[in-house]
Amino acid sequence: MTTLRDQIQHVIDTEPVAIFMKGTPEMPACGNSLRALQALWQAGAPITAVDILPDPRIRQELSALTDWPTVPQIFVGGELIGGADITEELHASGELSRKLDEALGSEREQSVGVLALDLAAA
């Protein structure tokens, strides 16, 4: 049995680029989640998305863990880089690509994946 919080922490720690968002990359359910995704995509990130909508506890546990009240939340190399506004801002300034290069190397492959948390175990 792994608690929800442990699972979330594990995603943050092990996924190169993680976004906790409303909906999925295929069907984003919120404009901010879409904005963040687009910035990550344009910067060539290997994106792992976690939909927070299936269970309200995901959002609660995530915000408790990060002390960040809103979603989406974007992590690069285990570090919270911010929400949609910061991600867009970092992309516009070129800083996002630099961050990705630093954390993952410039040879990184662009990708989009979806990861579901195990709600039954939590």
Partner: protein, 76 residues
């Protein structure tokens, strides 16, 4: 008005800053706040947004704010 509440809270947190609050949708729950303050100097964007989020913790947690966009600038 929620706009006034947000402006008041932000001015309390950043007394010498300049604060702008826009109701983006006219529905009183989707906001864009722009804060310029010396308090941001030397802080990362994440730290700057944390300060703004902290100032708005009340309306963020009680559902007054459904969506929040933040722009910060490091000088008033």
């Amino acid at each position: 008005m929620a706009v006034d509440l947000l402006r008041t809270l932000l001015l309390e947190a950043f007394p010498e800053g300049s604060v702008e609050v826009v109701d983006r949708t006219g529905t009183g729950d989707h906001f864009h706040v722009a804060v310029a303050s010396d308090a941001f100097v030397g802080l990362s964007l994440v730290e700057q947004h944390r300060l703004v989020n902290r100032a708005l913790a009340g309306p963020l947690s009680d559902g007054t704010i459904h969506e929040l966009r933040i722009t910060t600038k490091g000088s008033a």
